[in-house]
């Protein structure tokens, strides 16, 4: 499974093994959460919602894309180039697992 970084199953803390290493970074987690709520968001919109710099956001989105969690589509809107980001089915599954893990962790 590309991009999925599992923890050892021997972890004593419940939920820890379900956490996704990629999504432990708050920018990547927040980006996936926002994209789970809407079909696609532009880079500018994500930057606005996450209050991050171009460099930081770009690097984090690239890592998610390389892991197969996001797809990017480029087009022109009102004659300006726009990059549209969407969550892949793999990304949704990873997010669901990670949130389930967080829930178990917080409940323990």
């Amino acid at each position: 499974m590309p991009g999925r970084k599992k923890r050892p199953a021997s972890s004593a803390t419940p939920g820890l093994e379900e956490l996704d290493k990629l999504l432990e970074h708050r920018v990547r987690l927040a980006a996936c959460v926002l994209l789970a709520r809407q079909e696609a968001l532009s880079f500018s919109r994500l930057k606005q919602l996450l209050d991050e710099t171009d460099g930081s956001l770009g690097a984090n989105l690239r890592r998610l894309e390389e892991a197969g969690y996001l797809t990017v589509e480029k087009e022109f809107v009102e004659r300006k180039p726009v990059s549209w980001y969407s969550l892949t089915p793999e990304g949704r599954k990873a997010l669901r697992r990670h949130v389930a893990g967080l829930t178990r962790l917080l409940d323990s």
Binding site: R37, Q38, E39, L41, S42, D51
Partner: protein, 189 residues
Amino acid sequence: MSETDADTLGKDLDYVRRAIDRQKRSGSPASIYYLWAGVVLVGFILVDVAPWRVPLYWAIAAPAGFVVSFVLGWRGARSAGVRDAGEGRRWMLHWLAMLVGSGFLVIPVFLGTLSWPMFGALAILLSAVSYFHAGVHLDRRMLLIGLLLAGGYVAVVTLAGPVWTIVGVVIAVALGLTGFLAGRPSART
């Protein structure tokens, strides 16, 4: 989990929550509110000054306004960096229901069992319910418009004089003000 880890996790989740809150704050573009402020102002004043023109006005303005609103909403969303066909469909179906409902309300008028003034009042009431539900499910800014329309319904069925003009001005100002507030940069984040 150590205290430091728990603290870091707490801050990270706060960060995610803030991002979601910003996402929830955005709603309809200002242009749609301005459009309906103009349509309502003219349509309501006509009831007092030229009532014979009212059916034709709304027969054209309501569906045309619906189509223009859909286009403005679609363009506004793309311009704001949001692409969500599902959300667009929800908005469209919501307002289409109001449009179709108003159309059904005309049937008893043609059958002679409902007067045009009463049709107008019921159309305001239907609009009030639609705006209120939109405020609950789609964009909180519409709650106040819904309440004002409900008040407008009570006014037109109980008071005499140029009530429609007064109600029209109140609703148009409320729509215009909501549009102004929606158009501010802070409202879009």
